[in-house]
């Protein structure tokens, strides 16, 4: 016997409605493949290209707390904004972000990253300069590589000083696809 779908759904909705969870997640379908999306009461907490929850859930639990529960309804707003972005109807995300636990350098780099406009690119060195650490291009690269909110915090818009794409934690083909979507490539 397994728990009937309806009973399962009722529990998940009650848990979210009673605010008894630290974070909710669900799988959001996208042209780049399924995304695991998590939100806490502070905002978007994770976007992961790896739809297998195991490692992602551990990470989300470390950020928000151990009560991480799947709940389609709770991630509805994030799903809608992502859908609109992939449909070419959204250029700026309005979602609140949960940046708990990040070092202050990381937060300021991500803050600058959030201001890189849709359809443009910048470089690791330029971002480093904008946070007042012009010699820290490599550290900026590490921040991009560990970005837990890809797409929404557009690390795909950051390229090498020679214009090469360099790399992307979600796979270079996804970086290419995102830049094509935004009309850069």
């Amino acid at each position: 016997m397994t728990v009937p779908h309806d009973l399962d759904r009722r529990f998940r909705e009650a848990a979210a409605a009673l605010r008894l969870v630290d974070a909710s997640f669900d799988i959001v379908e996208s042209p780049l493949g399924p995304l695991l999306v998590a939100v806490s009461d502070r905002g978007l907490a994770a976007v992961s290209y790896d739809p297998k929850p195991e490692a992602a859930l551990e990470r989300i639990a470390r950020i928000a707390g151990p009560r991480v529960l799947r709940s389609p309804r709770a991630v509805e707003e994030a799903r809608r904004e992502l859908d609109e972005y992939f449909a070419g109807r959204r250029r700026v995300f309005d979602l609140a972000l949960d940046l708990r636990g990040l070092a202050s350098f990381t937060v300021s780099v991500l803050g600058e990253l959030a201001r890189v406009p849709y359809g443009t690119t910048t470089t690791y060195g330029a971002l480093a300069a904008r946070v007042g650490r012009p010699r820290s291009a490599r550290a900026v690269g590490t921040v991009m590589n560990r970005n837990r909110l890809p797409i929404v915090l557009p690390c795909h818009r950051v390229v090498g000083s020679g214009g090469d794409l360099v790399g992307y934690a979600g796979g270079l083909e996804r970086k290419v696809a995102l830049l094509q979507l935004e009309g850069v490539l």
Binding site: D8, F11, V21, I60
Partner: protein, 155 residues
């Protein structure tokens, strides 16, 4: 010292135990009333989850919450003048079974506290979470239960 087992993300805990919890509740309450008790069990577990000190004995813990929810449901039903409650079906868990006969006549809270403490070796914070009471009240319930048993065994 062994390293404490980390508390898993709730999703994993829930997926691991939801089927067994529902089976237990259906045995005790019948299919019709098991659904509400299922939701109540996991909402209580959610409420207590952040207070857990480690991730050990989670199965025993959630089954105890389920048993308490079932006891509450049967008690409410009796208070409402409903059908007489059917005798609770005992689980076949060795630790529980050993103590089950011995603790039979104890009040439900004391019995649960004694069995969790001495049958499952759970720490008091988890017993408290399972019983929906404070740690002090759990400690009190276990020690009152043991005293009651002692009086019964040594006339």
């Amino acid at each position: 010292m062994m390293q404490a087992v980390a508390i898993p993300p709730f999703e994993r805990f829930y997926e691991q135990h939801r089927d067994e919890v529902l089976r237990l509740l259906r045995r005790r309450l019948g299919a019709a009333r098991a659904d509400d008790a299922f939701q109540e069990t996991f909402l209580r577990a959610l409420q207590a989850y952040p207070r857990l000190a480690h991730g050990e004995h989670l199965r025993a813990w959630v089954l105890t919450i389920a048993r308490n929810v079932a006891v509450d449901a049967l008690r409410r039903q009796r208070a409402d003048g409903g059908e007489p409650a059917e005798q609770a079906v005992e689980d076949r868990r060795p630790a529980y079974r050993e103590l089950a006969g011995l603790t039979d006549g104890l009040p439900p809270k004391e019995r649960a506290a004694v069995v969790l403490r001495y049958g499952y070796d759970l720490p008091y914070d988890q017993i408290a979470a399972a019983l929906g009471s404070s740690e002090g009240a759990a400690r009190q319930a276990a020690s009152t239960g043991v005293r009651r048993l002692r009086r019964r065994i040594t006339p």
